[in-house]
Amino acid sequence: MMEHAPALVIAFPLFAAFASHLIGRLGSRIRDIWVFASLLLTWLFAVFLNLEVMQRGTYAYTLGADISSLASPAGFPVRIVLVIDGMSALIAFMAVSVTLASFIYSRRFMERVSGGGESADRYCSLVLLFLAGMLGMGLTGDFFTLFVFLEMTSISSASLVAFFRKGSSFEAAFKYMIISAINALFLLFGIGMIYSQYGLLNMAAIANEMVLNFSFLDKVALSLIVSAILLKLGSVPVHMWKVDVYQKVPSSVAVMCITSSLVGIYVLSRILFSVFFSMSALTGWMIVCLGSLSIIVGVSMALPQKDLKRMIAYASIAEIGYVMLGIGTGLAGMSSTFGTVALSGGVFHIINDALDLGLMFLIAGAVFYATGKTGISKLGGIAHRSASLSVLFIIGMLAVSGIPPFNGFVSKLIMYESVFCLNPVLSVIGILGSILMLSVFVKVFASVFLGSPYKGKFREIPLSMTAVMWIFALLIILLGLFPGLALDGLVSPAVEALLGHGIYMGVII
């Protein structure tokens, strides 16, 4: 049973998604228990994958083969192959953990916001489908499966964007769907170009072929695939859809959307590190430039926003820019020490982003739950009504803007000091971005939480929501005080996995 964990970790949420609709007929309580149990099981599988990777190192799982570790029986891979290494196991673990937290948070949240019943069934199955898509994107070893899972995440998350059935949420969903359809088609176009030359779809096998001859068509395919994934993760020139989506999606799903764009970062780095590594200097500089542009534009556009969730969405664009900065420097300085350090900063920042921005969105959701508003100028004096919410906001705010004892600072410091070796201007942009980020959140804190006590109706925030937010906050503090835990346990195997393209190819061929 456990040897099939890589397949089961994707298959189980997929099955649970469709089953939850049927089980929902039996009653909402039974459905909630079912969804929770299946998420917990998936989480255990993901933990198991991490432990397995620690013991065995990188390994492949062939779907439908007699011997699952034998990826290419005829000298080339014929089946769909999942590759599990430090990085993909980390991403899978992160996706499942965030979904589990978001589901616990969403139970009371969605009850209040959507009224339960039929729509809660839909919500559960869409969330599980979204999770299955993210896991598939994280674990897959070939291009076409990547395309399929990418479409799965886009379709399920677009339906979740339209969940509130308001005009503006349909608008955001429509824009998102157009953008992700174009994105997926460009990706498929690039995949077709690669297939036309090598007759292969497996990433490692393609990388193996490309070592010998890297053609003109490969370059075109590379640019199509890279720009499609940049669109998916919302880098700067193509980030506008993201803000609309994050503003309109329910807050519990916004946390998962953050995770899905981090999975997009993973896919980008997987493709650039393991497949197109011969172009690493050029692509690295490209990612670095787009990343620093994302920091500048994201932060400066967050400043004038008037809606809490829209503002956090712009902040998330800037934070994604930091991850891109770290990973791009890792690519550009692939064989040097500073490149490795920057890469570990970038990978650590992936974890920190999911925690920090996740906490911010959960707080925005809690404010919406309590007051029914998200406009910054309509709120004020929340601190008088809920002290714990404001403490959480302070923790999240300091962590996002990279202020010392919290986790955001550690990864950002690692990046400032290693990106400096590539070009000093990049560190300046990074530090400036952090300062502006703090100024954004200070303004929001002052206008939402401080001031005369909130006069409108203030609903008590239920324990399940507060508990999830405190778990995020405690993890932020824990990773801030003991960053060595994450750096040694999770980040350094992931960095080794990304840099070791020889091992990655060796598993398949």
Partner: protein, 105 residues
């Protein structure tokens, strides 16, 4: 202690420093004048020179920044106009630039 490329970072050292500095701050504060009363103007924010656009709201706290960066924000506002055709336009632009960069360099 974590090495961060060109330096190192230890949260515990930082916390000890913060504790030490806050003790010093408390000592200095306790030496201060005891009889301070909050009068009309002493606690008010001081704004000097220029037009004062602030309407005493927290939202306007960075009005000077927005005033100085007016052209940038005007350009940004035109860029984020929320029309789906323009989203596609930016994507097509990105693809062209990326293809150009990858092929030429």
């Amino acid at each position: 202690m974590i090495s961060t490329g060109m330096g190192s970072w230890s949260p515990l050292v930082f916390l000890i420093c913060v504790a030490f500095i806050s003790v010093v701050v408390q000592i200095i504060r306790s030496l201060g004048e005891g009889g301070f009363r909050k009068e009309e103007d002493k606690a008010e924010a001081f704004f000097s020179g220029g037009r004062l656009l602030i309407k005493n709201r927290v939202m306007d706290v960075y009005w000077g920044f927005f005033d100085a960066m007016g052209r940038y924000y005007g350009w940004m506002k035109r860029m984020h106009n929320g029309i789906v055709n323009d989203y596609v336009y930016w994507f097509v632009l990105l693809v062209t630039v990326v293809i150009g960069v990858v092929i030429l360099l």
